[in-house]
Amino acid sequence: MARVVVDVMPKPEILDPQGQAVARALPRLGFDGVSDVRQGKHFELEVDDSVDDETLARIAEGFLSNPVVEDFVVRRVQA
């Protein structure tokens, strides 16, 4: 078994209204110096050793993310 982390983020050129709303709220709450916020999704998968990287990429690209508007990164965090 291994733990695999998939982070899904809106593509840089795609509008991220959620991140913008957080970014705009921070100065109002007295937190200065944060110029931008982007909000994405973080998945943790417990995966059998038999699942190869190519399969993980297919899971991430075809299901966990929407490749039209999102990028993803797959990481194995535990051997």
Binding site: K11, E13, L15, P17, R24, V68, V69
Partner: protein
């Protein structure tokens, strides 16, 4: 290196990627002729996007002559603004004007269903705001491929969630629409969006940039790389790269909507309108700033100078061409007197809306756009916005039309025994096109703003406009693409007749028409024949009904390979009701002791019917006959009946015929009924034929004689067809059997949840 006008003049022979941007050789040549030089990159971007089919209506415009030729002075009298403005405006009384428009967002919704549908709602709402109106409600006519196709399971839930996600967050009630399945839409789902808004008649704002020295203010969201080139027909073939020499990689044509920003923008605009500090206003939709600046400038009486480097950006390194083409959502452009700029900025600041003075109205007649002091655009704005190419595309009735019409439904096996007919009622009620739309409409807020009087599953949506007097409007959209395929002229008139009837059964008087004409490729002569027939059918039909077409939208290229969708001219009808308290509901049983009357005549008409589709997957023959004088008469009788309290419920007969109308009237009213069919006519034909011009009404027994005498006196055939039975929990059709409401409800409501979860 930014391509300036000076540079363009100095390098006349530089090659330009005009074909990649969708321009034809002769179109490019014309741009050079207009400018007397080659266009700059920025100018090329503007012309290419504004001269696209989507923005310029270059294939359809030539057929607009049918609208004007069929609009009488009486029809014109109620129109405050018509075709050519952002949306048509009609006067409804009590000092109110109402504006409404339908628009397509088909292709983006196929690429990314959620965002495509969401931004479709956002765009149509801004169109209504650009008329100075407060948006009141939205509705969405939708068409998808086969319900059990895997791609439909991807597209439909995304589209519905996108419409709900945007519209609900925006705070506009969704009061109706359509969901239609047909495999002809498999690769080309249709996502049309309608918005209706209201204003006091004196507050009408048109998109004009008048008054030298007035300031041009861009307000709303920042400008990013959204949907660059997305409005050109081939939205997937966007700028291929080096357009501005920056080597930017191919970008997705998808735009992401931010309904929260749009909601704030609406409130901000309404406050600006109320303060009276807006001279002209224009929304930024397809073609973004290219469209807004050229349309504002060409509609005004002067020129315009825009400093493009002032536009607040979301992405770094954007070129002038990219900024002009960006389709970033939730932006508006206003023209404001210099003395009002401070007040304008104060209102925007209150709502946390970014507002930037980007230019001013100038003397002369040029639209000049500069980038850090250098001129990148210098054009006559009308040549961009209004004087684009116009094509007279070849038209030819397709070879297959005769064979299609000859292949009538007469040979199809029909159910005949009571058991078969009973089973057919249930099968039809559960079929995807007739089943309850609740799975969809429950995802839409129909209550917000507190003015919704009727919404799905009623025949039309109704909104109260004036809380004091109770004046309101009713809206319905309709189109049976199969009817249009069989006979585009008649099929379009049937769509008009059904939308008209759906408004009339609510007790409202039909007043105006809008449309969204969804067709295949205009380069196919057969498609253009369908289109020409449809436009002529609609225009001539409207003349006969005495209600004007106030606006419309055309969506071409809805086809996969050489296979086009069924021609789908969606027709929207707006009606007015002086007091919404006298609305006619759809469900029967509101009053104790009601008689059911069937108005109109039933013929053996099954060409293009839902029964032929469900039972035999058959499409052929001729659609039902249309009699618009009859439709008008039915409308007048329903309004009179509603005014005098003679009608307690009404439901139109359309897809699925009388059987489906009875099922829905019982299930919505939650009461049973006993129905007696005409012994002199085939029960199958009576139950399932889709003859037009028919309505089922429930009248209180005490009013029955008065109502039927009115029908007889005015020449409207009617037949006493049953009684409402509040004690019974079933629909009993004499000679066929008993259909318990629980069994009907399970059939009717189970289908969409089973398909889409």
């Amino acid at each position: 290196m930014i391509d300036t006008v000076d540079n363009a003049t100095a390098t006349p022979e530089q090659e330009q990627p005009f074909r990649e941007l969708g321009l034809k050789d002769d179109e490019y040549a014309r741009i050079r002729e207009i400018l007397g030089r080659r266009p700059t990159d920025a100018e090329l971007a503007m012309y290419s996007v504004m001269w696209s089919e989507h923005c310029s209506y270059k294939s359809s415009k030539v057929h607009w002559k049918h609208w004007s030729a069929n609009t009488t002075p009486e029809m014109k009298a109620k129109m405050l603004a018509g075709i050519g403005e952002n949306a048509g405006v009609v006067e409804i009384g009590d000092g109110w004007a109402v504006t409404f428009k339908l628009e397509s967002h088909n292709h983006p919704s196929y690429v990314e269903p959620y965002q495509g549908a969401a931004t479709g709602v956002g765009g149509i709402v801004r169109d209504i705001m650009a008329m100075g109106a407060r948006p009141l409600a939205v509705m969405d006519p939708l068409r998808f491929g086969a319900p059990d196709h895997p791609d439909t399971k991807r597209v439909l839930p995304g589209v519905v969630a996108g419409i709900g996600g945007y519209g609900n967050c925006l705070g506009l009630p969704n009061i109706g629409g359509e969901v239609v399945f047909d495999s002809s839409y498999q690769g080309n789902p249709l996502v049309n969006a309608l918005c209706v808004g209201a204003m006091r008649t004196e507050d009408l704002h048109l998109a004009h940039a008048s008054g030298t020295g007035n300031k041009v203010i861009l307000f709303g969201a920042r400008t990013g790389l959204d949907g660059i080139g997305g409005v050109s027909v081939l939205a997937s073939e966007t700028f291929s790269g080096d357009e501005g020499g920056t080597g930017r990689k191919k970008l997705p044509a998808v735009q992401v909507g931010d309904p929260f920003t749009e909601k704030v923008l609406i409130e901000c605009c309404l406050e600006l309108f109320a303060e009276g500090i807006v001279v002209g206003i224009q929304d930024l939709g397809g073609a973004g700033l290219s469209c807004a600046t050229s349309e504002l400038a060409s509609a005004g009486d002067g020129g315009m100078h825009v400093q493009l480097d002032r536009v607040p950006l979301r992405a770094t390194g954007m070129t002038p061409a990219e900024i002009l083409s960006s389709e970033s959502q939730e932006r508006m452009c206003a023209v404001v007197k210099p003395s009002d700029v401070d007040a304008f900025m104060r209102v925007c600041a209150k709502w946390d809306v970014i507002a930037t003075e980007i230019g001013e109205v100038t003397e002369g007649d040029r639209l000049i756009i500069t980038w850090h002091g250098e001129t990148v655009v210098d054009v006559p704005p009308r040549t961009v916005a209004h004087e684009g190419p116009m094509y007279e595309r070849p038209i030819e009735r397709p070879d297959y039309q005769d064979a299609l019409q000859a292949n009538g439904p007469e040979q199809l096996a029909r159910p005949s025994t009571p058991d078969e007919l009973r089973a057919e009622v249930l099968r039809m009620a559960a079929s995807p096109n007739l089943a309850s739309r609740r799975w969809v409409t429950e995802q839409y807020d129909r209550y917000v703003r507190g003015g919704t009087v009727l919404a799905q599953p009623s025949d039309s949506g109704m909104i109260r406009v004036d809380e004091e007097t109770g004046r309101g409007v009713a809206l319905a959209t309709d189109c049976n693409g199969r009817f249009v395929k069989l006979d585009p002229y008649t099929g379009t008139q049937l769509a008009l007749a059904e939308a008209y009837r759906n408004v009339a059964v609510s007790g409202a008087t039909p007043l105006a028409v809008t449309n969204c004409l969804n067709f295949g490729s205009p380069e196919d002569p057969a498609v253009m024949w369908q289109f020409e027939q449809a436009v002529r059918g609609l225009a001539e039909g409207c003349k006969e009904l005495g209600i004007p077409v106030t606006g419309g939208n055309v969506s071409f290229y809805n086809q996969t390979g050489t296979t086009a969708i069924h021609p789908t001219p969606v027709v929207g009808v707006l009606g007015v009701i002086d007091d919404v308290r006298r609305r006619i509901p759809t469900g029967i049983g509101a009053e104790a002791g009601e008689t059911l009357l069937l108005l109109g005549e039933t013929h053996d008409e099954f060409g293009g019917s839902e029964w032929a589709h469900v039972a035999h997957d058959h499409l052929g023959g001729l659609p039902p006959k249309v009699d618009l004088a009859r439709e008008r008469l039915i409308g007048e009788i329903l309004v009179a009946g509603s005014r005098d309290g003679m009608v307690s419920a009404a439901h139109d007969l359309s897809d699925g015929g009388l059987a489906q109308t009875l099922v829905e009237a019982c299930l919505i009213g939650e009461v049973g009924a006993r129905v007696v069919l005409d012994p002199d006519q085939d029960p199958f034909v009576q139950l399932f034929s889709e003859s037009a011009g028919r309505v089922l009404v429930a009248v209180p027994r005490s009013e029955e004689l008065r109502f039927t005498e009115m029908c007889t006196a005015r020449g409207l055939p009617w037949r006493r067809t049953g009684v409402v039975d509040p004690e019974s929990q079933s629909l009993e059709i004499q000679g066929i059997g008993d259909l318990p409401l629980a069994e009907l409800r399970e059939a009717w409501e189970g289908t969409l949840p089973a398909l889409f979860g």
